[in-house]
């Protein structure tokens, strides 16, 4: 079953469509506000952004990831094809494992980032923020590979937070505690197939659950039954945004401009410029952007995406960053007051060679108190580690809380 059938010519009657979890989201959505995420209705906040955030850090939160763009890659050449497409060495992602990756154009600029799920031997799912089918198909030349976009054929929920493992175990997923980070496994779930991966966008203990759209409501119901005593809450996209910044995860359209959309080509970024050099594997042979990235490695990058720890208590959204000598250094791309790190934190794109760990800057923050605007130049320093990195994220088996 597809969640939405776009082959009908009257699709235009709605600009946005209910996700397979819609009936349940509606029950939880006390604020009655909806936003859109690509083709689907999404919930910015169900009842309180802050409470939903803390569900993700203190208990567990449920977030609908159905709208994420998904592709299924199969065929004898699936692996060599993906190695041509992706910057990282995909052969290292074994069956039952998940890997984060970026893919570039020939100029070595990032088109998008996403996750590669090695579902079973030679069968891969690619999840991305942007629609990619034309680019993916363009790259199939010379490869015996089949690619379909199956965004609307798969329903997905993220269950994130310290009690998430216990909730899944209580829901009847025997052995879930043995799943290691970035692992994926399959369960027979009330006669349906449920795929579970230990992945997420919150930098905490968490899982993503994948099923067929017709099983969506049943999955949601079982999850909330099992989680009732463990603080389970529906979580909106506003809370998720806070969780991902704390985790140091970048977001397409916020921390970098996808190259396929860039009217101004210089505004795009390479993997190195996003701090993702570890995703570039030069020793695996030819891949898109390799030559350009090799040159960049030799000649240096134009930007550094850094994590900033900012003095004081004011969030630094949309701020300029200056050197101690008051010279322009760059801009903040994402920022927040971190309730878990108890710090004002930010991701910022700085002009290279600026942005080495420990380097000090000043961030120009505009803030408002009862309609009065003020400005502060807040000292800040580049930090190496992510702002929120609890050991439970890596622990196998995880504790119950």
């Amino acid at each position: 079953m597809r969640t939405v059938d776009f082959s009908r010519e009257d699709h235009y009657k709605n600009a946005v469509f209910p996700s397979p979890f819609h009936s349940r989201q509606k029950q939880h959505n006390k604020l009655r506000e909806w936003s859109r995420w690509s083709d689907y209705l999404s919930v910015p906040a169900y009842w309180c952004e802050s409470m939903e955030y803390f569900a993700g850090r203190n208990a567990c939160g449920v977030f609908d990831i159905t709208p994420m763009v998904k592709h299924l890659v199969t065929g004898p050449d699936a692996l060599p094809y993906l190695n041509r497409l992706m910057t990282r060495d995909v052969s290292k992602i074994k069956p039952g494992r998940v890997g984060y990756s970026v893919w570039c154009n020939e100029q070595g600029r990032v088109i998008d980032d996403g996750t590669i799920f090695h579902l079973t031997e030679g069968v891969y799912r690619i999840c991305s923020q942007e629609h990619q089918i034309d680019w993916f198909m363009t790259n199939t030349l010379g490869f015996d590979v089949t690619i379909v976009e199956d965004t609307h054929d798969v329903a997905g929920l993220a269950l994130q937070g310290p009690t998430s493992c216990a909730v899944l175990r209580d829901m009847g997923l025997d052995g879930i505690e043995n799943l290691t980070p970035f692992g994926l496994t399959y369960f027979d779930f009330h006669g349906t197939e449920l795929m579970v991966s230990r992945t997420g966008f919150t930098g905490d203990l968490g899982y993503e659950l994948w099923t067929s759209p017709e099983n969506a409501e049943m999955l949601w119901d079982r999850l909330f039954e099992a989680g009732e005593q463990r603080g389970i809450k529906a979580m909106g996209s506003d809370a998720l945004e806070l969780l991902r910044i704390e985790a140091g995860f970048i977001l397409a359209g916020a921390d970098f401009l996808p190259a396929a959309e860039a009217v101004r080509p210089t505004h795009t970024r390479s993997p190195f410029e996003l701090g993702l050099g570890w995703l570039v594997s030069f020793d695996k042979g030819v891949f898109n952007g390799r030559q350009a990235l090799l040159e960049e490695k030799q000649n240096g990058s134009r930007f550094h995406l850094v994590k900033l720890d900012i003095d004081g208590n004011k969030p630094a959204n949309q701020s300029f960053v200056y050197t101690k000598n008051k010279k322009y250094a760059g801009t903040v791309t994402s920022a927040m007051w971190s309730p878990s790190a108890k710090a004002s934190i930010a991701l910022a794109s700085l002009e290279a060679p600026l942005g080495k760990p420990g380097e000090e800057f000043e961030v120009e923050i505009y803030y408002q108190r009862e309609l009065k605007w003020s400005r502060v130049m807040a000292p800040a320093r580049v930090v190496k580690d992510v702002f929120w990195d609890p050991p439970r994220k890596r622990q196998t088996p995880p504790a119950d809380f």
Binding site: H11, Y12, D39, E130, V263
Partner: protein, 540 residues
């Protein structure tokens, strides 16, 4: 006639009005002469059927009008309101269609209905068109440099162009060079696979041009249609509330408010030249008017071949004017409708009929429409760009009634080398109506009144040579510093005191008002007057 003006502007089309308004704003005692009883030229709204029923007789949609002109001439204060319209549709013969919706996700899904890949490819296509638009837009309100000149201003302007081109980066410079010389078909083939998707994008490459979708140079013409905006939304098109004449009316109100004078009802018989200097105009009614500066907003050929004594001009120059490509290729039907036509394929879809509608399946079919033009007849299976502005602008017609603007490509200036007859004009109208009737049964019965315009009518009434709506083909040999002809791109005629400001000059046609504004800047500079023409708004 003893009064002497500072300036005379010939032709009260939107460029003449823009030019006159800036001159008047600078304090010049300016006279506008217009051959018709009404002003506006091709930017006009006339009530031909009933007083409460207006047509946009020639130009019919607005996007290119420079926002800097809109603002600096205070056109909003003088009553102009441009309202964006949503939706557009391309209907195929087999009953399928592809729509372009206001909502971007809906549009993406609509393309995906025909091709998943093309839906995604549209992102890259739009990006690449926007890149070209951003590059070209910054030059619209600048006088083109003379690349052969060593004058400091030309050298500086050439350097500016070079610098901006280098900013594009290596790959984009290659793309740009290819783009300016490609055919729209070849260009679309590089992005899309579905014939209907391609067809839906191809019309903008040939509208107003005597070229086919497979002719080199048509990719740029698409750009010319995409580089405008409505309130910063690039590529968007809108209706001038009250019809396109509202633009001319607002400009004229500004001109009059700055003490400009207007004389209508008699065309220019000759531009008077004395001792190598333009000194005035003699009208067909015998009246003569004198001024220090004469500005022609007539097309290049009309100005120099029809309204000047050849002895006042260099034969070499006249030869180049004769060679200027200004070939008529389009016609128009303006129709009063008793109701909204029902296009079978659309199954009552109310959104897509609010914008431009096209009846075409493939670029091949469009090329065949061009073949008829080459054979000296109007397209028997014409390409149509039709809109019903009254669905958006209720001031145009009585409630429930409608005005339909049907732009038709291809229509030759002559039929097999001979002048159009009245009978042929009517036959042409029938060809178009029959075409629409095929897609919207019952359409003919809705027609209450119809104005049929071929290049003959466009030339006779508006003065556009051969009925070319851009007043000169928009190909690289006639663009930038080559427009209208090399060496004369800076709005000065070869005769002292005489200037050109029509769409024959850079940056070309469309209701853009840039030629009028650019020419005014040159004139005011030559007269050492304060410049009233704004600089272009740059976008980094």
């Amino acid at each position: 006639m003893t009064k002497k003006y500072d300036a005379i502007v010939i032709g009260a089309g939107h460029n003449g009005l823009t030019n006159g308004a800036y001159l008047a704003k600078a304090g010049l005692d300016t006279l506008m002469v217009e051959k018709n009883e009404f002003i506006g030229g091709a930017t006009v709204s006339r009530a031909l059927y009933r007083d409460d029923w207006k047509y946009s007789n020639c130009s019919y949609v607005c996007s290119l009008l420079r926002p800097e002109v809109y603002r600096s001439l205070n056109l909003a204060k003088y009553g102009l309101q441009v309202v964006p319209y949503g939706g557009s549709v391309t209907i195929a013969q087999n009953g399928d269609y592809i729509g372009n919706y206001v909502d971007p996700d809906t549009s993406r899904r609509e393309v995906a209905r025909h091709s998943h890949r093309d839906a995604d490819a549209t992102v890259r296509y739009d990006r690449d068109i926007m890149r070209q638009c951003r590059f070209i837009r910054q030059f619209l309100l600048r006088t083109p440099p003379d690349p052969t000149s060593f004058k400091p201003r030309d050298l500086l302007e050439m350097m500016y162009m070079g610098k901006e081109a280098l900013k594009l980066g290596e790959d984009l410079i290659y793309d740009t060079l290819r783009f300016y010389t490609m055919s729209i078909t070849d260009f679309l083939d590089e992005y899309f696979e579905n014939p209907l998707v391609k067809a839906s994008h191809s019309g903008s490459g040939i509208i107003g041009s005597a070229l086919g979708v497979m002719s080199p140079g048509t990719a740029y013409i698409l750009l010319h249609h995409a580089m405008g905006d409505v309130d910063g939304s690039m590529g968007a098109w809108g209706f001038a509330r009250g019809g396109m004449g509202a633009i001319a009316d607002a400009m004229h109100a500004c001109f009059t408010d700055h003490d400009g004078e207007t004389v209508t009802g008699s065309g220019v018989d000759e531009i008077i030249v004395k001792n190598g200097r333009a000194v005035g105009v003699a009208l067909e009614n015998g009246n003569e008017y004198y001024a220090d500066v004469v500005v022609s907003n007539m097309t290049l050929p009309r100005t120099f071949l029809e309204c000047m004594n050849p002895n006042d001009l260099d034969p070499g120059f006249l030869k180049k004017v004769k060679n200027f490509k200004i070939r008529g290729s389009s016609g128009k039907l303006n129709i009063a409708l008793d109701g909204v036509p029902n296009f079978t394929a659309l199954r009552g879809n109310p959104e897509l009929i609010r914008g431009d509608m096209h009846l075409i399946d493939s670029t091949e079919r469009l090329e065949r429409a061009y073949d008829d033009w080459k054979n000296g007849i109007w397209s028997q299976d014409p390409y149509i760009d039709m809109l019903i502005p009254s669905l958006t602008d209720t001031t145009m017609t009585p409630p429930g009634k409608h005005f339909m603007s049907v732009f038709v490509q291809y229509v030759p200036p002559k039929i097999k080398g001979k002048d159009w007859t009245d009978e042929q004009v009517q036959q042409f109208g029938q060809t178009v109506i029959n075409q629409i009737e095929e897609y919207a049964p019952g359409f003919k019965e809705l027609i209450l009144h119809m104005e049929v315009r071929t290049p003959r009518e466009l030339e006779d009434e508006v003065g556009l040579t051969e009925g070319n709506i851009f007043q000169g083909e928009l190909t690289l040999d006639q663009l930038l510093f080559n427009r209208p002809i090399p060496g004369y791109a800076q709005y000065r005629a070869p005769v002292k005191g005489m200037y050109m400001c029509s769409s024959s000059t850079a940056p070309g046609g469309g209701v853009m008002a840039a030629p009028g504004a650019n020419a005014a800047r040159e004139i005011l500079g030559d007269l050492n007057k304060t410049n009233t023409v704004p600089e272009g708004w740059l976008d980094d």
